[in-house]
Subunit: 340 residues, 2 copies
């Protein structure tokens, strides 16, 4: 059997409560007592029993990750990052796949949080961008951290920002630097802020170069291969087709690449294509895609760490403990699909 708080206390010659104070970092333990206890913990390879902790304490050590996102790579990267941070802080993770378009989604989430007695929630897009969901969580007093697209935090709740705007501006800038002037844009779902932010960055980059975007070159779609195939056909049929394309993600870009090649349009000679996300996709096309890389696992880790710190702050009743939002700017990765 594994060590319990009692055996650690005996070994260290203190009361169990003192051990409890040590493992909870309560900070009211004398340095040498602390050292003794730490030593006992190490010697006995003691790990707090989560069930007992959950039962006795008023808080739980379980976080939840709720997702609804068709992109398996993204989800898995998020999950791995969250898991890593959870492990190093003694938290557990409950995974909850769901369907954001389900009208009962809010009930479902509230129910889930209650029945699993979660300490906090990690929300990624699109859930992190649904005001109804956030509002319901606020109302129920459920703590959460959001990962979302933007360059400044919308409020003082913990969040991690991904600056899609800046990255999109860089990608478009790269296309402009290559001499392109007629640049097309294919958007993903408008409900995703990432779409609107990337589009904003696209427009801004054009404006930086004194170019007015041609509305014909901007197409709405979804984050799918099919959108890429269809949109590029439409674009290439234009009297004055674009010489470059910025697709809202790699999947669209891959579709566009395929569509272009099917029509005998050479990439990158006749048409440069850039994607976004640095998904495995982007290296498995011919030619490989220029894209922007977001360190998803790292983002997830940071988000989780913010949530945990905020949880602990609340536990210690520390008021005004606002955690500054982290901002990640996806990094431009230039590959052959945009080389001259």
């Amino acid at each position: 059997m594994s060590a319990t708080i009692k055996s650690v206390a005996e070994y260290a010659g203190v009361s169990i409560k003192t051990v409890s104070r040590v493992i909870n970092n309560e900070g009211t333990v004398k340095p040498d007592t602390l050292a003794k206890v730490q030593q006992a913990i190490d010697a006995l390879d003691y790990r707090p029993n989560k069930a007992a902790r959950d039962l006795a304490g008023r808080d739980n050590y379980v976080l939840g990750y709720v997702y609804d996102n068709p992109n398996a790579y993204y989800i898995l990267a998020m999950q791995n990052g969250i898991l890593k941070e959870c492990r190093s802080n003694g938290y557990e993770l409950l995974i909850h796949p769901c369907d954001a378009t389900n009208p009962d989604i809010i009930d479902e989430l509230v129910n889930m949080v209650n029945s699993a007695r979660l300490a906090g929630l990690i929300l990624s897009p699109p859930l992190s961008e649904m005001p109804d969901v956030l509002h319901a969580m606020d109302e129920k007093g459920i703590q959460y951290v959001r990962v979302l697209s933007g360059d400044k935090a919308p409020d003082d709740k913990p969040c991690v920002l991904v600056d899609d705007y800046q990255a999109a501006r860089q990608i478009t800038g790269h296309l402009l630097d290559q001499g392109h002037r007629r640049i097309a844009f294919i958007a993903g779902e408008k409900q995703h802020h990432s779409t609107t932010e990337r589009q904003r960055g696209f427009y801004q980059a054009l404006a930086d170069h004194g170019i007015k975007a041609d509305p014909e070159l901007v197409i709405d779609g979804t984050y799918s291969f099919g959108t890429g195939v269809q949109s590029i056909q439409q674009l290439l049929a234009l009297p004055e087709p674009p010489t470059a394309l910025f697709a809202c993600n790699d999947e669209i870009a891959a579709g566009a690449l395929f569509g272009a090649r099917m029509q005998g349009v050479d990439v990158p000679e006749a048409l440069a294509i850039a994607g976004f996300e640095n998904s495995p996709f982007s290296t498995q096309t011919f030619p490989p895609l220029t894209t922007a890389s977001q360190p998803t696992a790292q983002i997830a880790q940071r988000a989780t760490s913010s949530l945990i710190r905020s949880l602990q702050a609340r536990k210690r009743k520390a008021e005004n403990h606002t955690i500054p939002a982290d901002i990640f700017v996806p990094e431009l990765i230039v590959r052959e699909s945009t080389s001259r």
Copy 2:
């Protein structure tokens, strides 16, 4: 606050122990007592507190899913299936990504199972096929269920089989039916049984038609896009190149497709290509790939259900409660990449 076993007992007019018996399906409760308790449970929307259960009982209600597999779609599908079954049985799931090539993998797993006090483990390839890992789990008395490639169970421990052999035979048969006689095969990692089983099926189908496989047409590789690209170049350079290809998975097939098109070889006219897995990949190539579809989520669900049943059987000390292995045969999906 949510209902406890005590409030249910009071509401139903019985002792808490009787309620405990009901929620644990112990079967020694009179029908009308059971009905009363059930009604109380429903009325109060009672859900057992997992922490208390774990603490009081000798068993835990947490399963673990350990994975090491680069295929995000597969992992996520597995995970979703497991989760679904866990939820409907009141179990929780602990996710543990790991690296099967790590020499300390066994220590890592044993450690993980101990410190998380898991009830059982769900193992998918390649971990489910590593004798060392299985042996260590057996030694530690850790229950597990395996998902593995094969057509009969290697022992009487719970497992779910995926009959890659049969499916590969069907795919190859389909190619033969189209009149192909020179059919190439590109293998994945030999450590994965799925590779050897698929290869076995390939050979058998040829043998069924009285064809001897040409060793030149069989290439070893890994489950990757790159393998596909390289292998097809090698194959097409042969004095007598194949007219059809069966790739061990869709990723290889996609790579081969690309390689072929780059050399100006038309698919399916000059070369038919079939993959395996029915990954999103397979619909996003041009032309879409013929493949075999395995209902991964369903497989995972069945595996989880086997594990849970076996856990409960052991709890009731039911000897000889062997659960018959489920067998899934992936289904042939014919798309344009093999049409005449």
